[in-house]
């Protein structure tokens, strides 16, 4: 599938800053599920930016401005061709060892209501893939509010039906549960060409299987990612895949425009 993307962000770096510095992670890389046909990031300072791979294998850019405008515009756009591999990415060269993604983080604390179901379950021949699918389903059940969820500190999360938690919460819950079961799991940010949804910079997860390598799971949608998902960045959790970090700090960048168009 051919997916055309145009993603425009606004960074409010404030008035009067002498300098501003950004760490930009908005570059998809070609891999087993996608080939990047064209891609560019347009923003002030991009012409002198340093380009490098970060600790998780993402293409990062270090961008700076002298006496920046109070508001910086960032436009990432391009065309990515995707292939549906039922979520299976396999082993990617140059990536850190999967074991790294067993490291617990503050955002991926396991949620008792999810992990309790699995800890006691004997594995009796159940494959890791079946386990991960069950885990994904359970994350949906708990976070969609079908069941009252219990977070690690015991506080119950009261959600009204209208407020569905953001996709990052689903990914974190899935990752936390997988890591609690000693399965390496990582956070993925990217674009989803979802016909039923407003286009958004979205998140899902990938879990490791010794046989198949990395397998992607989208617990927000309850499916394994298809050719409608474009991977951009991976990391331990949402913090390591933030699309733009900035000093002066910007809070979170405001999305001005997002267009994701899929064509067969």
């Amino acid at each position: 599938m051919k997916i055309a993307i145009r993603h425009q962000l606004s960074l409010a770096v404030g008035v009067g800053a002498a300098r501003a510095v950004q760490h930009v992670l908005l570059t998809p890389l070609s891999g087993p599920t996608q080939t990047v046909r064209e891609w560019s990031i347009d923003m002030p300072g991009m012409e002198g930016a340093a380009s490098f791979l970060d600790g998780f294998g993402n293409r990062a850019r270090l961008v700076t401005q002298v006496k920046p405008d109070a508001e910086l515009l960032v436009t990432a756009s391009g065309v990515v061709e995707t292939t549906d591999r039922n979520g299976v990415l396999g082993r990617l060269p140059g990536e850190p060892p999967p074991a790294l993604f067993r490291r617990p983080t503050a955002l991926t604390k396991p949620i008792g209501a999810i992990t309790s179901k699995f800890r006691s379950t004997p594995r009796d021949g159940q494959s890791r893939i079946a386990l991960l699918h069950a885990l994904m389903a359970r994350v949906g059940e708990v976070l969609d509010g079908g069941e009252q969820s219990q977070s690690q500190d015991g506080a119950s999360q009261s959600q009204t039906q209208a407020e569905r938690p953001p996709s990052a919460d689903f990914a974190h819950a899935f990752i936390g549960a997988a890591r609690a079961l000693d399965i390496p799991a990582r956070f993925v940010s990217g674009y989803v060409a979802d016909a039923d949804d407003t286009p958004a910079y979205d998140s899902w997860a990938e879990a490791w299987d010794d046989g198949l390598g990395w397998i992607a799971f989208d617990p927000t949608r309850g499916v394994c990612p298809t050719d409608r998902h474009v991977r951009v960045a991976t990391g331990l959790d949402a913090l390591s895949t933030v699309p733009v970090r900035s000093i002066p700090a910007i809070g979170s960048a405001q999305v001005l425009a997002m267009r994701i168009e899929a064509a067969q």
């Binding site: 760490h23 600790g55 700076t64 140059g94 331990l236 900035s246 000093i247």
Partner: protein, 473 residues
């Protein structure tokens, strides 16, 4: 406490003088009464003039103190030093290889020689460093190895300091002081020089400049500022090396490179000896609230445009829990047995070992896994019942937060105290520089516990220092 008396570095068991100390002994006997007292007061005014002070955390009598200096040097023979430095070099090479491995393929974890969890779940492990190739593959360029001696040929490594070890300025100033106080002794004994350290540091830093740096790389020392306890050392080293001393606000990142503000405009910076902890180095990558660091510095480092000395994330190799695995680490990377011994260490998360520890607290030393400077430490033989009770509770509450070791009978050196010359316990921190080669400054910082019988040599806990003389053949 052990029953055998501690090893006396000056005297044999029969009271005769050990070879390395023969000339010093003669000299001491020649000194008229009062000469040593005079020398000591000369030394004090010398150090005051030099302005060497250190800050004591949690002390309310002024923050700056003069570190006590003992005028009697510690002497190590050429043969003893050769052995010791071989062991240190082995350790330092293995630990740098370990850092490269755990930030790349993690073969040692796959081989199960070091538990994966101990590394990957450790707060000192820095995931941002994964896959990064520092110049010459060196992670820790400046290392201080803490060593204690318990017998003529018996050395133990207490800990490896691979983050930002301090104290080297004392080593240099102590030598400077001794050269002034007792120049005639240097005529009689051939003492290996330590004065070359700043020049060697400069060469080491130049040798790890990024590939795209110009012919003569620009070096700076990055300090957290005047309120840091080691600020004196930062400015001293910068001065001695002929490098600029900078604070975070003096540097900035532009177009992927690091620059220093100068009166004549921005100047590109190639190698940074940073004395700011990892967490505070760069608010864009690490703690966003840090005002001490330079925004974008880590990314510029990752992009290969600047070298950080030492690299972030080296703390994983001197973590006290990882320490117990250093002999295995040496075998794994070098295929050799460790030349220097590790102090046997009890693991409090193991039920049996913890039970033993809690039964024998009055004989043992308890250290916090992430502690330093002698803070948060229990020395069993010198502890009160109340202190032991407090540590018992702490260990039970967080067994993984403590390591426990037997109390070692640290060797003693003759020390000039109020009642004349008496033996006092010492340790040794030699300084190692790693760049195009491994260079160990002959000697190092000898710390001495000035209180009779005390085994705690930390300056924050009533310790002093001595000049350390390595004799040349």
């Amino acid at each position: 406490m052990s029953v055998t008396p501690p090893f006396d570095e000056m005297h044999n068991a029969d009271g005769s003088i050990r070879d390395p100390y023969l000339i010093l002994d003669e000299w001491l006997k020649e000194q008229p009464p009062q000469a040593l007292s005079l020398m000591r007061s000369d030394a004090e005014s010398l150090f005051r003039r030099l302005g060497i002070t250190f800050a004591v955390y949690g002390s309310n009598e002024g923050t700056e103190k003069l570190i006590p200096f003992d005028i009697i040097p510690r002497i190590i023979s050429a043969k003893e030093w050769r052995r010791l430095s071989k062991g240190i070099e082995q350790r330092v090479r293995a630990l740098n290889a370990f850092l490269h491995d755990i930030y790349h393929r993690q073969e040692i974890l796959k081989a199960g020689r070091v538990p994966e969890r101990l590394i990957l779940n450790n707060s000192a492990f820095c995931p941002e460093m994964m896959g990064l190739d520092p110049a010459r593959g060196v992670y820790s360029h400046i290392i201080g190895v803490d060593i204690v001696r318990v017998g003529p040929d018996d050395f133990y490594v207490l800990e490896d300091n691979l983050r930002t070890p301090s104290g080297v300025s004392y080593m240099l100033e102590n030598r400077e002081a001794m050269l002034q106080l007792a120049p005639e002794l240097f005529q009689r004994l051939k003492v290996a020089p330590v004065e070359t350290y700043p020049e060697t540091l400069r060469r080491t830093m130049e040798s790890v400049a990024p590939a795209n740096a110009p012919g003569s790389p620009n070096l700076v020392v990055l300090t957290p500022g005047i309120h840091n306890s080691a600020y004196f050392e930062h400015s001293f080293l910068a001065d001695q090396m002929g490098a600029e001393l900078c604070e975070g606000q003096d540097l900035f990142v532009e177009n992927g490179k690091v620059y220093m503000r100068t009166t004549t405009g921005p100047e590109r910076v190639d190698v940074i000896y940073r004395r700011i902890d990892d967490d505070f180095l760069d608010p864009l990558t690490f703690r966003p609230d840090s005002m001490l660091g330079v925004p974008g510095l880590f990314d510029a480092y990752r992009a290969g445009n600047v070298t950080l000395v030492n690299a972030p994330g080296t703390g994983i190799a001197d973590d006290k829990a990882v320490y117990t695995y250093v002999p295995q680490i040496i075998e794994f990377y070098l295929g050799e047995k460790a030349l220097l011994k590790n102090v046997p260490t009890y693991n409090c998360t193991n039920d049996e070992e913890r039970a033993y520890v809690l039964e024998h607290l009055e004989e043992l030393v308890v250290k916090e896994v992430h502690g330093s400077g002698g803070y948060g430490m229990l020395v069993g033989p010198a502890s009160t019942r109340q202190m032991r009770e407090e540590f018992r509770k702490k260990i039970l509450a967080r067994p993984d937060n403590y390591i426990v070791q037997p109390t070692l009978a640290l060797s003693t050196c003759p020390t000039f105290v109020d009642r004349g010359i008496a033996p006092r316990h010492v340790d040794l921190r030699p300084y190692v520089l790693v760049g195009d080669d491994v260079r160990i400054t002959p000697g190092g910082l000898t710390r001495v516990a000035l209180k009779k019988g005390s085994l705690v040599v930390n300056s924050s806990q009533g310790g002093g220092t001595k000049d350390t003389w390595v004799l040349e053949d």
